[in-house]
């Protein structure tokens, strides 16, 4: 199943997708599993001078300098003051999509999940401006106290989202 999935959009139309779910603010988001290298805990981020506000800074990840991007800032999601930075997570992106090591800072990482393509609504995404890089909305069915609930997960294309920056 995983072998059928590729990071290229066109081939995700049928079959299933594997994503990493995470939280930004109140909403759930997902990015392609193969864009993810690993998830690490927050460590102190050294700010870089004279850089865009969504570039949080850099960390030393096992000897490698890794640039940290605040995804909330990038996506213009309101920052909630009650969550301290220390509780956030960093999703380190796979090197195959970036020239240098990049991590994105998210509020929490939930799980690695597999969804069938019929669970993905791509029509909603089409309405939105290209710039948002939303691939689609995943409808995830969960059971809470014998009640069927549908969670909506915003599936984004991280490569496009970070676009220019990753070409640096």
């Amino acid at each position: 199943m995983a072998s059928e999935v590729h990071s290229d959009d066109s081939q995700v139309m049928s079959g299933s997708i594997q994503v990493v779910e995470f939280i930004l603010g109140d909403e759930k988001f997902a990015i392609d599993l193969f864009d993810v290298r690993e998830v690490v805990e927050y460590t102190r981020i050294s700010a870089l001078p004279n850089s865009p506000s969504y570039i949080k800074g850099i960390i030393d990840l096992r000897g490698e300098i890794t640039t940290i991007i605040d995804l909330k800032d990038r996506l213009n999601i309101m920052r909630k003051n009650d969550r301290p930075d220390e509780e956030s997570r960093i999703i380190v992106l796979d090197e195959n999509i970036t020239k240098k090591k990049v991590g994105i800072m998210v509020d929490d990482v939930l799980s690695v999940s597999t969804f069938e393509m019929n669970q993905v609504d791509r029509t909603g995404a089409a309405d939105v401006d290209d710039d948002s890089s939303i691939l689609g909305i995943i409808k995830k069915k969960t059971k809470v106290k014998d009640k069927d609930l549908t969670d909506l997960i915003i599936w984004i294309e991280i490569k496009q989202l970070l676009g220019d920056m990753l070409k640096m």
Partner: protein
């Protein structure tokens, strides 16, 4: 030691000093010059000689080298010729025990006993040549030009062993000196090698030593160095190769030879057969030669000795000439200095009579002599001036001063100094003289306070001491005198404070006082007794001089007083007995004592006349004649006059009194009559009283009725009081009851308070336990936090594992399941930890509330405790109040009882009043009777008044008989 030397030099005569100086001036430079010349000359000469020796030796060595090189060239040439000759016959081999040469054509030439080759070589180059064949351990001559001692070719003889070793054994070419068949040769041996390279023979060429080095040695032998110096040669073993006397012998035993062997090249001084020798030497190695050129050192020192001798001669000559000059001048100076010294000594010893003979020379000594003469005359002048001053001073003319104008410089200063000394002496002397003068005139001055120096200060101190001593003496004398004047004869001065004769003076004064005081005290005692009326016996003690007269006077005084007392006693006794006519005999007494007795007699006379007059007047008074008066003819003075006046007064007073009595009696009679009239009035009053008494009796009965009514009311009151009393008692018993109840209440309250205290303690315990639980919960909270952290980490790990597994594709699927499982477990444990944390939080809140509740309960309990305490206090107050009430009621009860008693008393009193009223009525009746009796009494009084009137009249008549003074 050093000083001794220095003083020795100092004490030397001037002539000697000059001599020493001149000699030193002559000898020191000459000797120095000589030494320098000698040493520099000898050093130059030595250097020259040494250079010459070294040159000679090196020339010799060069010569030897030239000879040796030449010899070697000859040897080399010979060897080359021999070798080419030898090899021209072919290559050497051993065939049939013979040394053969085989040429390329195969022709064999036997070398053994074939002398053609060697002879040919010797003919060409000279010297000697030999071919050896190695046979066994030897090399045997097989062809030679060397002729043996027997005059034949020395064939068949072996080569010497050192050569064999070097050439055959080691395969070297040997150069050197060698003894060849008894003759010394300079040689070269070269090995012959066979086809296999083995040494099979030796080629030899040699030159006789005599022909080469012998020439050199002869040359050396003929060389003379200096007068009889020579060249000698020895080898490294010390054996003399060339020496005029010791050739062939070993020189190694000589130290200088050893030095040379050690140094190999240089210059050496040594001793040889008693002579100083010098030798230059060098080593020529190829021949193993030490070449030395030696000579007697004396051969070269001749010029130096000449210089030395010349210097010696010059020094000696200079010493002699210098000494002579020095002695000449020195004597002249020394003589004149001696004169000066003698003069100086004389001046030193005070003999100023001498003068200096000036020899007219103008040098310094002459000037010194002139100056010295001037000094002498100045000192003479100075001395006479000093003599004058001292003579004047010893004559006491202290105002004489030296004339400093006569002198110059320090002499003037000295005279001035002497004058100053005199001034300095005279000032204090004058002060001392003035003080002594004042002291001698009795005017003790104040202490000298000025500061003087040295002995003047001593004088000042002595004067001050003298002033102190005199002051002390004067003070003590004043003290004794004052005390003596004031009669304090026991006062003595403390002689210990004084010294010397002052002490004697004070002791003398004390003794005088002692001598005076004893008799005075004796007499004083006697006089004292006399004055106290206690006449003592005569003083029997013996005194001296005037003290004895004093004693006799006192004794006479005692006699006179005793006699006087006796007479006075006689007169007094007579007077006591009323014998006023008795008189004492005044003629027995003398002076004032007689006057005393006369006075006594006169006194008696003065008393007796008035007494007789008194008797007369008193008699007259006794006869009721008060008109008699104390006769003015009788002299009555003092107390007698008072007696006289008293008597006269008696007469006057009594006359007046009787007159007065008479007058009053008349008045009494008149008053009695008036009284009579009054009594009648009283009588009528009494009758009125009797009437009033009847009224009183009536009123008493009315009062009695009122009293009976009061009595009835009192009985009612008594009943009421009894009621009150019984009520009070029941209240009292109730109060006691209340009291008991209150006490019970207080006890119960105390028990409750104790219970509350226990509750409070329990609440504290609970509080503590809850706090402990809280702490433990905190601990659990921490652990739960740790678990949450771990589950968080695990979660992350699981997530990463899941990512990895997913990325791995099919291979990672199993792992993905595990990762998902781990993740869910981690999440579960995380949520569990969270719920535990929440529960703990809840529990902590509850516990906090429990603690708060407990605190509230505690404070409530404490409030209850306070209330309880207040209750107890209230109970106690109740008890007190009830007790007060009880007491009050008891008081009321007792008061009621008292009231009852009082009512009864009142009742009794009313009864009494009733009876009193009865009595009153009765007495009123009695009073009426008494009034009548009083009327009768008044009548009696009227009668008595009349009697009085009659008595007064009678008295008047009686008084008429007194004769009264007008």
């Amino acid at each position: 030691m050093k000083e001794g030397k220095a003083s020795k030099i100092g004490n030397m005569k001037i002539g000697t000093k000059i001599l020493i100086i001149c000699l030193a001036l002559v000898i020191v430079p000459t000797v120095l010059l000589g030494v320098i010349a000698y040493t520099s000359a000898s050093a130059a000469l030595e250097e020259q000689v040494e250079t010459e020796f070294e040159l000679r030796v090196s020339e010799s060595a060069k010569q030897a080298d030239a000879v040796y090189t030449l010899t070697m060239d000859i040897l080399e040439a010979g060897l080359n010729v021999l070798r080419s000759e030898f090899q021209s016959y072919g290559t050497p081999q051993i065939q049939n025990g013979q040394l053969v040469l085989v040429d390329s054509a195969g022709q064999v030439t036997v070398v053994n006993d074939n002398n053609a080759m060697v002879d040919d070589v010797v003919n060409q180059v000279g010297g000697a040549a030999t071919i050896f064949q190695v046979q066994g351990n030897q090399a045997i001559r097989v062809a030679t030009t060397v002729i043996g001692a027997d005059g034949r070719r020395a064939l068949g003889t072996p080569v010497s062993q050192p050569v064999y070793d070097a050439v055959v054994v080691r395969g070297e070419t040997f150069y050197g000196t060698a003894n060849v068949v008894g003759v010394d040769y300079i040689t070269v041996y070269e090995p012959i090698r066979g086809p296999g390279g083995a040494v099979i023979g030796i080629l030899f060429t040699g030159v006789k030593e005599d022909a080469t080095l012998g020439v050199l040695i002869n040359d050396f032998k003929n060389t003379v160095i200096g007068q009889d110096g020579y060249i000698y040669v020895f080898n490294s073993e010390g054996t003399a190769v060339l020496h005029p006397t010791l050739e062939g012998q070993s020189l190694a035993q000589y130290d200088f030879i050893q030095d040379m062997l050690g140094q190999k090249e240089g210059l050496i001084h040594y001793e040889w057969e008693g002579d100083d020798k010098i030798a230059a030497f060098t080593y020529y190695e190829p021949l193993d030669w030490y070449i030395a050129a030696g000579a007697d050192w004396a051969d070269f020192t001749g010029p130096i000795d000449a210089i030395r001798n010349a210097i010696l001669i010059i020094v000696i000559g200079a010493v002699i000439i210098g000494g002579a000059i020095a002695v000449l001048f020195g004597r002249n100076i020394a003589r004149r200095m001696g004169d000066l010294v003698n003069l100086g000594r004389r001046v030193q010893e005070g003999d100023l009579s001498g003068t200096m003979q000036t020899d007219g020379s103008g040098d310094e000594i002459g000037q010194v002599a002139g100056a010295f003469s001037g000094v002498v005359s100045t000192i003479q002048q100075f001395g006479s001036e000093m003599n004058m001053i001292s003579a004047a001073a010893s004559d006491g003319k202290l105002d004489i001063r030296g004339d400093q104008a006569k002198f110059k410089g320090d002499y003037a200063l000295m005279i001035n100094g002497v004058n100053d000394i005199l001034d300095a002496v005279i000032g204090p002397l004058n002060v001392a003289a003035e003080y002594v003068d004042r002291i001698s005139n009795g005017d003790i001055p104040e202490k000298i306070t000025d500061e003087y120096k040295g002995d003047f200060n001593e004088i000042k101190n002595n004067l001050n001491k003298c002033i102190d001593a005199v002051n002390l003496l004067v003070n003590d004398a004043n003290m004794l005198a004052n005390d003596a004047v004031e009669g304090k004869l026991d006062t003595r001065a403390d002689a210990g404070k004084h010294e010397g004769d002052f002490r004697l003076v004070i002791e003398g004064v004390n003794n005088i006082l002692d001598a005076v005081v004893k008799p005075i005290k004796g007499m004083g005692g006697a006089m004292n007794k006399i004055s106290n009326g206690n006449i003592p016996g005569k003083i029997t003690r013996e005194f001296k001089g005037e003290y004895n007269e004093l004693k006799n006077s006192v004794n006479r005084c005692i006699d006179a007083i005793n006699m006087l007392i006796d007479d006075a006693n006689v007169l007094a006794g007579a007077a006591v007995e009323g014998k006023l006519a008795t008189r004492a005999d005044a003629s027995k007494h003398q002076g004032d004592y007689r006057k005393v007795i006369d006075g006594l007699n006169n006194t008696l006379d003065a008393v007796v006349q008035p007494v007789n007059e008194v008797i007369r007047v008193a008699d007259s008074y006794a006869n009721a004649d008060f008109s008699t008066r104390f006769s003015d003819d009788v002299a009555a003075k003092g107390d007698m006059e008072r007696l006289k006046n008293a008597l006269n007064n008696v007469s006057t007073q009594i006359s007046q009194s009787i007159g007065e009595v008479n007058r009053m009696m008349g008045e009494l009679a008149a008053i009695s009559e008036e009284a009579n009239a009054s009594i009648e009035e009283v009588s009528s009053g009494a009758q009125q009283i009797a009437k009033n008494t009847g009224h009183v009796s009536e009123n008493s009965e009315k009062a009695n009725n009122g009293v009976v009514q009061v009595l009835r009311a009192m009985e009612d009151l008594s009943a009421a009081v009894e009621e009150v009393t019984s009520n009070s008692e029941s209240v009292a018993s109730m109060a006691r009851n209340a009291n008991d109840q209150s006490r019970e209440g207080a006890k119960l309250a105390a028990a409750a308070e104790q219970g509350i205290g226990e509750i409070s303690q329990s609440a504290g315990d609970v509080d503590k336990i809850i706090k402990g639980i809280n702490e433990q919960m905190d601990q659990i909270g921490k652990i739960v936090g740790l678990i949450a952290d771990i589950s968080n980490q695990t979660n992350l790990l699981a997530l990463n594992a899941a990512i990895e597994a997913a990325r791995a594709g099919d291979a990672g699927r199993g792992f993905a399941v595990v990762a998902a499982e781990v993740k869910s477990l981690a999440q579960e444990s995380g949520s569990s930890a969270e719920s535990i944390a929440n529960m703990i939080g809840e529990l902590q809140v509850q516990a906090k509330r429990a603690v708060e509740a407990m605190g509230t309960a505690n404070s409530a309990v404490e409030a209850g405790s306070d209330q309880m305490e207040k209750t107890i206090v209230a109970f106690n107050e109740i008890v007190q109040s009830v007790e007060q009430i009880s007491r009050a009621i008891e008081e009321v009860a007792s008061a009621s009882e008292e009231q009852a008693a009082t009512v009864e008393q009142i009742t009794a009193s009313v009864h009494e009043v009733s009876s009193l009223i009865d009595e009153n009525a009765r007495e009123a009746g009695d009073a009426a009777a008494a009034t009548e009796e009083a009327s009768a009494g008044i009548d009696e009084v009227a009668r008595m008044v009349e009697n009085v009137s009659a008595v007064a009249n009678k008295t008047l008549q009686a008084n008429q008989q007194f004769k009264l003074a007008k």
